[in-house]
Subunit: 483 residues, 2 copies
Amino acid sequence: MEEWYPEILLRTQVIDKRIPDSRGFYGYPPYGSRMLVLLEDLFIGELERTGHDPIRTPTVIPESLLQIEKEHAEGFAPEVWVITEGRDRKPLNILKVLRPTGETLIYSLFHYWIRSHADLPLKTYERRPSFRAEPDNAIQPFLRSHEFYWIESHDAFSSYEEAVQQVREDMGIFEKIIWNKLAIPFMLFKRPEWDKFAGADYTCAYDTPLDDGKVLQIGTTHNLGQRFAKAFDVTYQSEENIEKHVCQTCFGPGIGRITGALVLIHGDDQGLVLPPAVAPTQVVVIPIPMKGKDEEVLAFSYEVHDMLKSRIRVRIDLTDNTPGFKYYLWEERGVPLRIEIGPREVEKQQVLIIDRLHQMKETVSKDDLVETVPKLLDKFTNILQDRARDRFRIAEVRSLDEIKKKLSEKVHLLIAPFCDDEECIEFLKDEYNLKVRGIPLFTKGEKNIKECEENYRIKDESTPCIVCEKRPAKRNVYMARQY
Amino acid sequence: MEEWYPEILLRTQVIDKRIPDSRGFYGYPPYGSRMLVLLEDLFIGELERTGHDPIRTPTVIPESLLQIEKEHAEGFAPEVWVITEGRDRKPLNILKVLRPTGETLIYSLFHYWIRSHADLPLKTYERRPSFRAEPDNAIQPFLRSHEFYWIESHDAFSSYEEAVQQVREDMGIFEKIIWNKLAIPFMLFKRPEWDKFAGADYTCAYDTPLDDGKVLQIGTTHNLGQRFAKAFDVTYQSEENIEKHVCQTCFGPGIGRITGALVLIHGDDQGLVLPPAVAPTQVVVIPIPMKGKDEEVLAFSYEVHDMLKSRIRVRIDLTDNTPGFKYYLWEERGVPLRIEIGPREVEKQQVLIIDRLHQMKETVSKDDLVETVPKLLDKFTNILQDRARDRFRIAEVRSLDEIKKKLSEKVHLLIAPFCDDEECIEFLKDEYNLKVRGIPLFTKGEKNIKECEENYRIKDESTPCIVCEKRPAKRNVYMARQY
């Protein structure tokens, strides 16, 4: 992790770790909270557009309920915060835990909410924090914390095909927000069997590349099949009056992790660089006063501010600071565009617009402002995309030596033939801190997941596993170091 | 509590108590969640308009931090859920509690966020659930639960006058939403000293009248003065370079309680009656098919639906149910307006609009629809206001016998001379389950709280307290039974 990361987050008022005795529990000042809200609203907008409705379920799960789906309970057992005392500090008969995720709560309600085929599909989302008791040394703002913000979307369908289709829909939402709006590069992987979500049929996960060569998982879609439906008896009466179990998916964009990723990916030595879509301030207006002309500069600055405010998030910096200090401050905060207004601009009824990365410097006349500024914001997003497009460093490797070499070059993804044996999984982890991320989904025009798997399957038995060099490799997998 | 209350909430899919081992922790299906979101968004809109920014702080408070403000810690001690175990179920050194309210967390951060007079006023809000371990027998959906939704707004100012002014601003927000949009009658009281928020200078609280004669507190504004600022060292450098403590207020509209109140106040034997501002569906279109005319009825219904959908929350009921059943269903759900469309309406290119309370029955031509429907929704809000306007039953009483009599008549508020002595406070509580709600604020054109207090102060010493009949009464206070 770059050293500047926690420091810049604190200095730019994005996240604050200074609550006493609260390591891993963060506060978010207005600037950071606004970013989180804007990001959540992007996802909620897409979820609503695709037919999802809000639901709310408790922060607290009785331990008894967590235990109903066995794999799931075992998966989360070490990570839960346990509530043992209630009113008047009396010990509880049934312990409660802070929810690590919502499946058990939500599906105990889906059991009641779904009766007939007419209730399906049921598509829902919940905007909320969740809780994992993480190892102390793993704590990093946004990347890993005891309380984290995400959106949980839980869907139920009458057919497995619809569930599979939902995975594609979620992927479309991710693409639309994470790449199109935030310029964060990502790849979607089908995780290997041994790394899937506890209780799922299979897990698809979104990885993004960080500078130090590690990847960060910023979201997941799980195809849960019918395992939870059977555990929680979530059934519906089909059109033929047959009682059937639903098929389920859940989608979890990691709001905190995405925010961390965009800081790490777009930020530079001057501080944050924010995509306009989540920038609390998209444009800052900076008056540059000059003796005898102060009033007209200020009046014109206000005029410009007021012209823009109904369409974009604009603010005007009226502090006593020098213009240079103001440039520095708002660049550090990552504001995409700044508008400079001095006496010359007043006279010519125009403004000077400069972007956070100093790749644009435009003189725009007052009459064109309202039309031009949104276009410049879009252009700024495109600049971010151009800078981020090729960030994934990927290499095919054929030997352990090559793995070592590529890792030292901070290559994110290593493609190698692998036998899937536990011994080899452990070796990679112990020796290189390397994990199998699975196989990429839908990068070669595949129509379904089976086709994707087929594309990475190794047919001839003569290719050995890169690790043990004795067992035949089953597939070409992607490996990476991860947060 | 009316018996129909929990039942109708479950049947109309507003709130669901059927999560196992989770008494007092509720799930909210899409219909109820949408109501909560709409209500929260009303408040957030007003808070943003008045210069508040979002913040986020943890769900979990270290016990050590809760204890910093002594009165506050004592007030909440019996009500906290206690987390004693963390990762791998290891016991915690410093216990954690689920936050009953955010003051201690937020002010430990305000300590850092506020440096100079330029940082003030700092006006913030947080949309979140909070937690109180309530007595088991007090649990009621929305009215009292272990986890409840609210918005916490925390403000800091450089002067006490601004803090007092904020109390008025909060009151304006409440009026605008609770009465103007939701048609919920309320009165604002300054609570007596012994019933103020733990740690506040004084507490103003909003009470609303329920049918059974009890009142329900649905929100509070506390003027915190400088007590928390001193406990948490929240200071600023004044313009004269002097280190000063800030003055603070906090405002907490009870999102859950307001929702419960509007169900109880507006609902009737047919079910919910929802104010348009928070109705998930404001208008339902019901096609009334007739042999041979089905297609044109359906086509016209869709047309009407599509005309309205960009301006209001409209849905069309296309189920196989009979029109009569549909009327029943959507009336139970409280939908303000229903549009009926049969062959005659198609022919005349008009619709029939009927409101949930059957006080309007309008024939509206297609061309006027887009303009007329929003007006009818406003009119429906006015109808609700007319029904609710005189719901507060208030009586002046002069003896304990009169108290008894008026309580049996389900009078909400009793005005009586009172000595403020603990003995009399206890007597009222033990004998009649009656609590002093304080004195009403700003009902007689008062300019400030002092004037309000003056208006209820008893000047002559010959008026005895209504309870003990020996000590002179200090003030005329309002008393009520409460949830």
